[in-house]
């Protein structure tokens, strides 16, 4: 086993374990932190594939922004008294087992597919560092320009929607 494949398997194990912990842990704060760990693991897996820019983006957007939001929102609740609603009950137990089952199914699928692919593909020559991002930039602004501008509009719509929701009646910043 080479050093690279050792790193890959180790990262895969860490990512999978923290992913499992997300569904199995009772306390939602720990769940969210484990999800953040999963995102960091996924980012490191991208890096093993040579996609350093995507790895960085995964880190900045998911681990550094989306999950900070999750953790922040969870901390707004008084979890010590509301923990019961998150962890007890047959339905949540069933859901957890079902989720783990689905995950295991996906995993089995991934393994069977990747064992087939592993023989075939030489890993694409990793574009070191900035080169990949340059290629991405070139494609984004020639071939996929329409989608790119549409994304700008979509983000704008979301930003306006968020403010609308936060100010709807009942909130602490409701319109008077």
């Amino acid at each position: 086993m080479t050093a690279d494949s050792f790193i890959f398997w180790m990262l895969a194990a860490v990512t999978l374990c923290s992913g499992l912990a997300v569904v199995l842990v009772a306390n939602p704060i720990y769940s969210a932190l484990c999800l953040a760990m999963t995102m960091v693991g996924v980012s490191a897996l991208f890096a093993t594939l040579g996609a350093y820019f995507i790895a960085g983006v995964q880190m900045i957007v998911y681990a550094g922004a989306v999950l900070v939001l999750f953790v922040m929102v969870l901390m707004l609740f008084d979890l010590k008294t509301e923990l019961g609603t998150f962890s007890r009950g047959k339905i949540s137990g069933l859901l957890k087992i079902a989720t783990v089952g689905v995950l295991a199914g996906f995993l089995a699928g991934v393994f069977s597919m990747s064992s087939e692919l592993a023989g075939k593909s030489e890993s694409a020559g990793a574009l070191a560092g900035t080169e990949a991002s340059k290629t991405l930039g070139g494609l984004l602004f020639t071939k996929y320009i329409l989608g790119f501008e549409a994304l700008g509009v979509l983000l704008l719509v979301i930003a306006i929607g968020v403010v609308g929701l936060a100010r709807s009646k009942g909130g602490t910043h409701a319109k008077h």
Binding site: I29, L33, F53, G56, I60, G64, M75, A128, G129
Partner: protein, 375 residues
């Protein structure tokens, strides 16, 4: 990390050395901060223990060590203890990615004088430093104290707000150098100022080829945003002691507190290092190129290995001087500006710095586009 056992070992040792450099700089900086504060406020500062109060560092460390280990009843133990350990990681990972000197050529080996040479340097550093928000949230929530929680929420809202201005102010820099790699940026800033405009080559011998002369607005925005990122005055709202006791680390003491300290100073060192790298030529000596320094070193050392080592050493000293200068500015500003109010802080981040960073991006793009034409 390397191709053979020797290289891997050296690279591992190098990483540990970079980390130890960061850790051992903390007591020195604390001493400098206390003496400097004394100097600025026209008082003595620590001057009783050892010469110039230098032994105060050791005394402080012993005091930290012998403090009672203690966690409050309401704390969530795991998060309470994990937070200070995690506090070290973003700073260390970021600091190790900054080049400290020109690469050392020794025999057939090339050792970059930095923890690791990341191809996507900037994106990597932004990514790991955005993880710092978790430390604060974990500490604040894990303490089970409402002031700690409020401090943590404020601090994380502040860091994420200023991350926008920080990230956006770098777009101009990336555009100018056309790379994410910090080493390539530093080599682009060698020597004296030379640039191409309207088909002509303009050279001014009396200015170093530094980024700040091309992106002055970005430098100001970036440096201000890093103050907010590292929770320093005037942006240390997280620990506004009049309102929040001490913010997210209210319940911490002893070595746990010390780890937070190392984390905070680590952020300052990353910020200073990046400031030097983006805007002040990194490890380069002003007005010279790496090649010129190497020729000079060749004249002294004689052998290729020795000359390379000497070049690296000289560049390392140059980098350390720049790093120290920015760290001193951090301390200086602490005693110059008062703390902002929270609404002023958010207004500054969202309504002043973000629009200016956008303006900087637009102006840089238009100028770069315009000067590329010759007429």
């Amino acid at each position: 990390m390397g191709s053979d056992a020797f290289e891997i070992t050296i690279n591992g040792i190098k990483l540990v050395l970079v980390f130890l450099l960061m850790v051992q700089a903390v007591p020195v900086l604390v001493w400098l901060e206390r003496r400097g504060s004394g100097f600025i406020q026209n008082r003595f500062g620590p001057n009783r223990v050892g010469p110039l109060g230098l032994m105060q560092l050791l005394a402080d460390a012993v005091k930290f060590l012998t403090k009672e280990e203690f966690s409050p009843k309401a704390a969530t133990k795991l998060l309470f203890y994990a937070a200070p350990v995690f506090a070290l990681i973003p700073g260390t990972l970021g600091f190790a990615a900054i080049p400290m000197s020109s690469p050392l050529h020794w025999g057939n080996y090339v050792f970059p004088i930095q923890g690791y040479n990341m191809g996507v340097g900037i994106v990597f550093i932004l990514g790991v430093s955005s993880l710092a928000a978790y430390t604060i949230l974990m500490a604040g929530w894990g303490s089970g104290n409402k002031y700690a929680l409020m401090g943590a929420l404020r601090a994380s809202a502040q860091t994420i707000s200023y991350e926008l201005a920080l990230g956006l102010s770098l777009v101009g820099i990336i555009m100018m150098y056309g790379t994410f790699n910090l080493s390539e940026m530093i080599s682009a800033q060698e020597g004296t100022m030379v640039f191409h405009a309207f088909g002509n080559t303009v050279s001014t011998g009396w200015l170093p080829n530094w980024g700040i002369f091309y992106q002055p607005l970005a430098a100001v925005l970036f440096f201000s945003a890093t103050f907010a990122e590292s929770n320093r005055i005037p942006f240390d709202l997280a620990e506004g002691e009049a309102e929040l006791v001490a913010g997210f680390h209210t319940e911490y003491g002893g070595f746990k507190m010390l780890l937070f300290f190392i984390g905070e100073y680590g952020h300052m060192m990353v910020a200073s290092g990046l400031m030097a790298t983006f805007f002040f030529g990194g490890y380069n000596i002003p007005w010279t190129t790496t090649e010129q320094v190497y020729q000079w070193a060749m004249g002294i050392a004689g052998t290729a290995d020795g000359a390379s080592a000497l070049t690296s050493l000289v560049h390392f000293l140059s980098y350390m001087i720049k790093l120290g200068a920015f760290l001193w500015i951090f301390i200086w500003i602490r005693w110059t500006l008062p703390r902002f109010r929270y609404d002023q802080l958010m207004d500054l981040g969202w309504k002043t710095m973000l629009p200016w960073a956008l303006a900087n991006t637009v102006i840089s793009a238009v100028v770069i586009f315009a000067v590329s034409y010759s007429w």
